[in-house]
Amino acid sequence: MAILQVKNLTHTYGGNTPFINDAVRDVSFTVEKGEILGIIGHTGSGKSTLVQHLNGLLKPTQGEIFIEDTNIWDNPKEIRKVRSQVGLVFQYPEYQLFEETVYADIAFGPKNMGLVGEELQKRVRETCKIIGVKDEFLEKSPFDLSGGEKRRVAIAGVMAMNPQIIVFDEPTAGLDPKGREEIIDVIYNYRKATGATVIIISHSMEDMAQIADKLLVMSRGSLVMFDKTENIFKNGDKLRQIGLNVPIVTRVFDILKEKGYSLPDDIFTVERAVEVLNKIKAGDLNA
């Protein structure tokens, strides 16, 4: 079942000023329940503008957005309800922490949804468990945590609202490799525990290869490709045309193929590469 449908979405910034600018142009796509969708594209290609429409922070200049077959702008007064259905984690979410304790900060979202007392406490603790925020952190000030921990707490704040769809805008930006891996794990675990639909914006093709079922490629405000991750990465030339690229490991294997080795064309993650190489080592050259 399609949980999210975007139809002919166009957004124009600065309509009546000299700074007029089409940020998103005629974008349509559907997301199935439980899918992980990746959005890739250059800086300024309209990715962030696009996702801000999904929870009604921006109103489309043209076009519609349906969540479970309901147009989210049917009832503009109820737009805040959409925000608990669609969670949005912004870039560098740790800059939005403000409460005195980690617990209070994670509870901010659920509290705004009307949860109180035991229910609220249960919700916060459940979320912390899923994404691995330790109990001893809960009474600390969020400003005493390390960068990666802050990011995790900020993400927990959105996850605690239990959204059906959760959108991440570059969740791993500015983190070290270990931090990146941890955040990817957090997203993965959350999806497994709740069955939520996940949308991720990222510049890292490696992260995308690891986690995304489908990819949506944006260039200059338009949707240029929308397909299964492997189909997109098999199309390296088209990606390079718009200034993007395939994962590094795929590039290595592409070069090997150019040198005349016969290798499969579905190697997008290091794990898969290791698997293929081991098979070759064992003598099964047609891996």
């Binding site: 925000r83 949005l88 912004f90 800059y95 403000f98 901010f108 704040g157």
Partner: protein, 270 residues
């Protein structure tokens, strides 16, 4: 809401006013403000109006941009004109009278007069920031304040100018940052638009605290970046862009002098 803040926003249209010397523009702006205040009768106010309209035309910046600035001060304009409406001379005819209040024709005229005066002042002031980049503006201010050096405030002039440059430079950054934080808290279900006054003030806390923290962080980063580039104050610093008075400036000065003379004459003869 935040998008409406246009103060400090520079709009490039390459008009003659854009190319004029910032020092000249600053002095002429002060003169224009004084003389708009001095226009005491209908005719001199109309001359002020004509002067402001001419400025808008020459600046090639759409009228809409100027009007946007007025939106923010609309309450002040309305309040001033409302109050003025009741302070007229009753001898010149009473329009309506109820309870202890009377609206006179004289009062209405005054209200209109005050409103137009404020509008003109705001438009002429915004024409400076629209046509002058923040950097030019502070260069101009620094240059105009430079006589202070002779009374023992040598480093103060430069520091003051630098502080202004930085403050102006960071207005759009902070506005953008505030917008981002607002969106993030809205995404977490924060309600910024409804509720009682007390609730609304409380709703600002999740925005103000992160904004404050990031301003302090930015200040540290900027200070460090400046030190890394060997910043050590204004001592011995020369300029890449020297300010020069050109023929455009003389035209602007002449034009403004005509305006000032016109106001004085109209004030005397009517």
């Amino acid at each position: 809401m935040l998008k409406d803040i246009t103060f400090g926003q520079y709009v490039e249209t390459r008009s003659p006013i854009h190319r004029a010397d910032p020092r000249v523009k600053l002095v002429l702006l002060i003169l224009a403000v004084v003389f708009i205040f001095l226009s005491g009768n209908f005719f001199s106010l109309m001359l002020s109006l004509a002067f402001v309209l001419a400025t808008i035309l020459v600046s090639r910046i759409p009228l809409k941009m100027y009007l946007k600035n007025l939106k923010a001060v609309l309450p002040i304009i309305i309040l001033t004109s409302l109050i003025n409406m009741f302070y007229g001379d009753e001898a010149n005819g009473v329009l309506v009278s109820f309870w202890k209040l009377t609206i006179t024709y004289d009062g209405l005229y005054r209200a209109f007069f005050m409103a137009l005066r404020i509008i003109l002042l705001i438009i002429i002031s915004s024409s400076l920031t629209y046509t002058t980049t923040p950097n030019d503006l502070t260069d101009g201010i620094e240059s105009l304040l430079s006589p202070l050096k002779f009374i023992g405030l040598k480093s103060a002039v430069h520091t003051l100018a630098l502080m202004m440059t930085i403050a102006l430079r960071f207005i759009p950054t902070l506005v953008e940052e505030a917008g981002k934080i607002m969106n993030a808290q809205k995404a977490r279900g924060a309600d910024l638009e409804s509720g009682s006054l007390k609730e609304r003030i409380k709703a600002l806390i999740p925005i103000l605290i992160p904004l404050l923290i990031s301003s302090v962080r930015r200040a540290y980063e900027l200070a460090e970046a400046m030190e890394c580039r060997c910043y050590n104050g204004g001592e011995g610093k020369t300029r890449m862009k020297q300010l020069k008075i050109s023929s455009i400036d003389f035209c602007l000065i002449g034009f403004s002098a005509l305006f000032c003379a016109g106001i004085i004459l109209l004030n005397i003869y009517f």
